[in-house]
Subunit: 567 residues, 2 copies
């Protein structure tokens, strides 16, 4: 009513209205973090000149794993907020697999220590991971069964249940899995989904169990079926997977309120070079999606899906999360406000961080005694199974090799390396051994402590001593990427739970690029990311042959198999 | 997954998909009250042949006062459910003004005693009335200040805060009023609105205080402004007010998800003759609204507005509230299911009711000693203010009459009656006296115990003794409509809180029609409803001159005024 002076007025901009799709030349007045007026003639303690800019509601990433950036929450926020991100729905699946619920608590606390004025510049809706461990055939750092899930989910700190990747369990009616969904339903908390290729009766069953969203469709038909069956479809614009081109033509006047935007997994370099949700918006509009439909997928639709009343629009009574962009074509972000506080301008974050690295996420690499001997393959047969990784994919084919056995070990054939998954949570001494063909690497070993979803150490090499040294380096660094050659050793530490780096984002981008380049120089073929491809060779939910700390795993049969092909 | 036999399968119908606007020939399978499958080949304990029918999600009335039907909850449900109503957002504003929170508890309990199989056939989202009393210038049966509001709203029984009619208080920043809104915000509960003619800065202020919905717009421009400022617009299709024609042309592809349907106030006879939300849907479609937009306003949009996850659609995991209609033009309802239980078929309700009339809502008419003498007007001047009711409106004009004073009373001029508002909650003896010109009634008195919003007795007549007798009759009946002529007396009891009748719906419709006809025969002019027009003469928030139990009230000045025009 203009009876009092507001805290902030943003003058001269065009307000993009997500309720009508229209744009209105008006000032926006803010008090106590809430939009109190849209119009003219407001007096305020602070003013911002938004002439020539379009004001949008702050963006929300509807589903992401902060861990995939390999950055601390602080560094991630410094990159994302200047791109207009005001909130994220975070599923700390990786951290919790390593550190248990303390991993999620670390994430929440680190974000809560960010400060722009009196406020936290990035809202985090924390999902409790639903699949820890991802499968019963490997050793992860924690275990959340249905009882623990109910107990944790009762905490206000958890907004909902994270992506239910165990869709086979849901569809098969696995009791513990259904009990987790029942816990969420009882508590009135939302459940995110993950259901690649799930359609027909299986989709009905998955949805009847209470899952609300999905970001894993494999085709346009699958997207349409999921929409028709009531799922919110999260359009994934991540570093590897990108569904924008598939989804854009499917957004109609009838269904567009049911799409959300998410990044799922996005790397630091991508965030730096291309941006975050702003980039996803530009992609959609470039693909022909009307601006209203695109913007709603990053704003009001998310608020509707997650029942966030008072979020997702520029309107009186709504939380004053706003983004000033040049236009609704390129979505170039000029300024960002969180609860009426300017949190970024011209690409620079305007908030402080208190570095936070609690003991729970440090020194998490605990391995038993490992020597060169540990990597000897004492096979009972000369016909051994090996993985062949399809270039540019995560899928492996199984091949059978004839090898020569010698001195309790084998002689590696041409272009074959050993692969080891070393249990690293309890120093239990578990090591799974296998063979990889076609990777191209030679003359030493390389390894990484980040490996989906149990995050044991994955080490590849053609030299037992080098492989042991890689384990040693990873242990000393508290996790990371390590490389050992004839006369060289290199490690890039991922000292936060073995998953993320405490270094600044630019150093993470350059450091990971450098060690990857050096690994490539040791022969890793194009089509493989030297380290990240490794990280997926231990994920026993992607076909066809994978390796865990307990040995080889036939994903199709969903059973362990021995190394010996004829056993 | 068809591994088990379902409870119900509805076969052969066309499923209307509110997510896509498409219609799909498919069977719908239900188990444990939830839709578990859409497709073919389901085995079920019970089957329903829906060949040739269109299946819609159950309808919700987004805002209504059950009291306006003058029916008990049981009787209302018997009328509404066969028309496809599966849920209502109820604001028991009238009951609570008479009985306090016990009035709302009565409503909830009466609905909860309805039983179709194991389930309650009609969901009731109970709003806590926000404006009890409506103004400080009258005596109502209860008072809910901000503290009491917080205390009551904390109860799970209350879904949200009912329509905030005191919009002047909100806009002026009245502390107690804002504290009520603050209570709702703190508890995360929704606030319904009521803001006729509120636009511009006043609308900004009203919304900034946290109101979510509105059903009182006076023009298309006002509807558009409210939509643009983020309000959900409830299209009111009631017995008196009907905004369908105004709103229908405003529903666009961009904004249609922000409209809801409601009845607000609908009488028993209308419910019997025209229906409920089904009628509103038919009206919208007849006005050119595409079926999807109309249906969403009664289903998914309501679920989104009120954060009712798992409601408002026919999809796996959604509550099995469904309606089979002949088509999406006339919306003629054939069958209704609540949580998968058939609750109505062919216009007949298929559920039982346990009559429930607790002491809290009985014998609520408590008046002090009232005699013919009580209605004498001992004016100090012969120039007196009188109300002139504009035909077919609730607004009154003030006129000044020259009257002859005689024996402590006045001689009524031609076509002028006395009007009395008799306090009836605490037998406090308060009587406000005034004059009404132009009503046409002569030869006795008539009166009613239902009068917005404080529900004191309103008695009109030209004979003091008859007026006293009307009060006596209303007291004896525990409330109602009463008429006293030369040689006749008639009363239609409203024995539930003086607002509603415990009689069957058909008897209420015929009984109220009969006594109204008899009143009309005593001269009440066309353009006035003999009793219901009276019920609004005591409502001091509608311009210009009204009467409360404390005397005349100038609504424009928002102050009491004396009867004497020159005082």
């Amino acid at each position: 009513m203009k009876r009092e002076t507001c805290d902030l007025v943003i003058r001269g901009g065009s307000v993009f209205n997500v309720f009508t799709g229209e744009t209105e030349r008006a000032d926006v007045a803010v008090a106590d973090g809430v939009i109190v007026g849209i119009g003219r003639g407001y007096a305020a303690k602070a003013e911002y000149d938004a002439a020539g800019k379009v004001l949008l509601p702050g963006f929300t990433d509807a589903h992401m794993h902060v861990e995939s950036t390999m950055l601390t929450p602080e560094e991630f926020a410094r990159l994302a907020v200047p791109h207009g991100t005001c909130a994220i729905v975070a599923d700390p699946h990786e951290l919790v697999n390593v550190c248990g619920v303390q991993g999620a608590e670390y994430l929440a606390e680190a974000f809560s220590r960010l400060r722009a004025g009196d406020i936290q510049p990035l809202d985090v809706l924390m999902q409790l991971p639903s699949c820890v461990p991802a499968t019963p055939f490997e050793t992860s750092g924690a275990r959340l069964d249905a009882r623990a899930t109910l107990q944790e989910l009762e905490k206000p700190a958890f907004f909902g249940l994270g992506e239910m990747m165990n869709y086979p369990g849901v569809i098969a009616g696995d009791a513990d899995t259904l009990a987790k969904l029942e816990a969420a339903k009882t508590l009135g908390k939302i459940v995110d989904g993950h259901a690649p290729g799930v359609t027909g009766d299986a989709l009905n069953a998955y949805l009847a169990a209470g899952v609300a969203t999905d970001h894993e469709s494999l085709s346009a038909d699958e997207v349409c079926e999921k929409l028709a069956r009531g799922m919110y479809v999260q359009i994934r614009c991540g570093s590897s997977a990108n569904n924008a081109a598939v989804c854009a033509p499917l957004m109609t006047a009838e269904n567009y309120t049911r799409f959300l935007l998410c990044s799922d997994d996005k790397h630091a370099a991508d965030l730096m070079e291309r941006g975050h949700i702003d980039d996803a918006l530009a992609q959609l509009v470039a693909l022909g999606v009307p601006a209203l439909r695109a913007v709603r997928a990053a704003t009001l639709n998310v608020a509707e899906c997650y029942s966030l009343r008072g979020h997702g629009a520029i309107a009186p009574g709504y939380v004053a999360d706003m983004v000033a962009v040049d236009d609704v074509t390129n979505f170039h972000v000029g300024a960002v406000w969180k609860r009426g506080v300017l949190t970024a301008e011209g690409g620079r974050a305007l908030f402080s961080a208190q570095p936070y690295l609690p003991a729970a996420v440090r020194d998490t690499v605990r391995v038993g005694k490992v020597t060169a001997q540990s990597f000897c393959i004492g096979a009972k047969s000369s016909r051994l199974r090996a993985m062949y990784v399809l270039p540019n994919e995560l899928v492996t084919e199984q091949v059978v090799l004839n090898v020569q056995r010698r001195g309790g070990d084998i002689v590696l054939p041409e272009d074959v390396c050993k692969l080891a998954v070393v249990e690293r949570h309890f120093a239990g001494g578990g090591i799974g051994l296998g063979l990889v063909k076609g990777y191209g690497f030679r003359g030493g070993a390389l390894g990484i402590s980040l490996s989906h979803d149990s995050h044991n150490l994955v080490v590849l090499g053609d030299d037992n001593a080098a492989m042991a040294r890689v384990v040693e380096l990873l242990k000393e660094a508290g996790g990371g990427m390590a490389l050992v050659g004839k006369d060289k050793e290199e490690v890039f530490p991922l000292d936060v739970a073995g998953l993320m780096s405490s270094a600044p984002a630019a150093d993470v981008a350059s450091g990971t690029a450098r060690i990857s380049r050096h690994a490539r120089e040791m022969g890793v073929r194009e089509g493989y990311d030297p380290f990240m491809t490794l990280a997926f060779l231990a994920l026993p939910v992607i076909p066809h042959l994978k390796l865990t700390d307990r040995g080889l795993f036939d994903v199709d049969a969903f059973l362990p198999v021995p190394l010996e092909a004829d056993a």
